[in-house]
Amino acid sequence: MKVEQISVFLENKPGGLEHVTRVLADADINIRALSLADTSDFGILRLILNDIDSAEKALQGEGFTVRRSHVVAVEIPDRPGGMHSISKILAGQDINVEYAYAFVERSGENAIIIFRFDDIDRGIEVLLENGLTVLPGDKVYRL
């Protein structure tokens, strides 16, 4: 039920993103989801890929500082109110969301939201208890 995500440290200067994406392209790695968080000094690029192991090797080989972490992917119907219903459930159970990002599925029917929880196991438990669809990693990597 957990999805593996890779985070890459990016110094705040031009070319960082170009370098990372070039490395991934050269290694023939397909990005499934991406989020770039920033501060004034640095950024953290978070990626869900089809082959995290190769990506980690390739990026480390190029001198990038990377870290793997676990996030949760929730699938909901793509219509207004979807995000709110999830947030309501999480807030009700005191589940703290560190960050989140989302994208719409190709099929057009569903949206997928990636969550990073303070307490991932509890987060998954609450989502499942409330009948939400939590996608396993394999499914997300192959989207």
Binding site: S7, E11, T39, D41, G63, F64, T65, R67
Partner: protein
């Protein structure tokens, strides 16, 4: 165990009386035999007879590295070359090397001081000493060598380099002590481990390491990986070579300066004023017994502090704290004296931080600014922005608390600050003064 028990445990009053007598003698000698000192004393308005108490030493002018360069090669010798039995030179980071000379008696003294150092570190004549300090013009190799022979220990004159051979010798000859720089000790540990050698199972039990500043953390690592007790030895060729001060095995807290042969002072590097015991300052040495090349109040540019509390080992000679950095690296930021080495200490005090940093000093309008760029590492990297921001804030806070300067912190990519073979370029000063 103490090598020269009588002198090393001389009661303070007797020690200071001895120092005064020797100081008066050396001051007379340099004034009458070295043109440079005669001029320097005359300019400072002080005559040899003015030295009546130890405190009067403060009336004497300082000697600095440039004075040695200006009198290159033999201008500060007090005896003719026919009395010199040994010449050494230090590499010097810029320009000409610094040349030092020794009479037969000076070599005796030096050997004695090194023997004292080995015994303070816990060695006896039964020890086998692996000497990996460089032999040649550098004072480390021969200094340690003569000291070992004076002690009666068995010395292996390895010198530097040929690491694989060194490791073979460490296994086959089974030395019980090693002399080398701390970074070489770590390098040997690394190479040995790579060769599949169990470095901890060697017969080595003591390391007498010096010639460069090293941290407590580095000491821990060396002791763990080699299974030895690692002690700090201090010296500089201008004063005599290694053997000016040694950390005792019992105390492991500061290095005893051999005060019957040297007077040590600590000064504020900017004002030249003496600082009290316990306060950080630049080390200044006066040689009391050397014949060929005595120096009066030589500024070493090494930062330390003097510890006057008695040591549990019984030696009455004052201790100096391990050298914490160089005074010539000093920056003045908004009127505050800042040493890059101090910032390094702060960074090392924070869990997970690599000591790869750079200080960018600039000026915005009329105010100096300081930016500390710190390299990211796997250990440090968190997926959460707030964690990284907390680290930035922590560094800023610690620097403010310990040094009194407000610095901006910037986390930069791993290895982006470059690596060099020798000393790292820690400071980029963009101010045009």
């Amino acid at each position: 165990m103490i090598f020269n028990e009588e002198f090393e445990t001389l009661p303070r009053e007797a020690l200071e009386a001895l120092q005064l007598k020797r100081l008066q003698q050396v001051v007379q000698r340099v004034y009458h035999t070295v043109g440079f000192y005669k001029r320097a004393f005359d300019e400072a308005g002080v005559a040899p007879d003015d030295i009546r108490t130890l405190h009067d030493i403060r009336r004497l002018p300082f000697t600095v590295k440039q004075d040695l360069r200006d009198n290159y090669p033999f201008g500060l010798f007090t005896v003719p070359m026919s009395n010199i039995v040994r010449l050494h030179a230090s590499s010097g980071t810029t320009g000409k090397p610094t040349v030092v000379g020794y009479t037969r008696r000076d070599i005796e003294i030096w050997s004695n001081l090194m023997a004292r150092s080995f015994v303070a570190a816990g060695l006896t004549s039964n020890d086998v000493i692996h000497n990996a300090y460089g032999y040649g013009l550098f004072t480390g190799g021969l200094g340690a060598h003569y000291g070992a022979e004076r002690l009666g220990a068995s010395v292996i004159p390895m010198s530097g380099g040929s690491t694989k051979k060194q490791i073979l010798i460490l296994q086959d000859f089974g030395p019980t002590a090693i002399c080398c720089t701390p970074s070489y000790a770590l390098y040997l540990a690394e190479q040995g481990e790579e060769m599949g050698v169990d470095m901890r199972s060697l017969r080595l039990r003591v390391g007498i390491l010096g010639a460069e500043p090293w941290s407590e953390r580095m000491r821990q690592e060396i002791e763990d990986r080699l299974g030895i007790k690692a002690l700090d030895i201090y010296g500089l060729s201008e004063i005599i070579g290694p053997g000016v001060a040694i950390e005792c095995a019992e105390g492991r807290d500061g290095l005893h300066v051999f005060e019957d042969h040297f007077i040590v002072e600590t000064i504020n590097p900017v004002t030249g004023e003496n600082v009290p015991y316990g306060e950080a300052g630049e080390l200044v040495f006066t040689s009391l017994t050397k014949e060929a090349f005595p120096l009066i109040r030589y500024r070493t540019r090494d930062l330390s502090r003097l510890m006057e509390e008695p040591c549990k080992c019984g030696r009455t000679h004052i201790r100096m704290a391990r050298v914490s950095g160089r005074s010539d690296d000093m920056l003045i930021i908004r009127g505050v004296n800042v040493f890059p080495s101090q910032i390094e200490s702060v960074l090392l005090g924070i869990e997970g931080l690599e000591p790869h940093y750079q200080l960018i000093v600039d000026r915005e309008g009329t105010l100096d600014t300081l930016e500390i760029q710190v390299e990211m590492s796997e250990d440090l990297f968190s997926d959460e922005i707030k964690t990284l921001q907390n680290i930035e804030r922590r560094i800023t806070k610690d620097v403010k608390d310990y040094l009194g300067v407000t610095a901006k912190v910037k986390l930069v990519g791993a290895k982006s600050l470059g690596r060099s073979e020798g000393k790292a370029q820690r400071v980029v000063d963009r101010r045009e003064l």
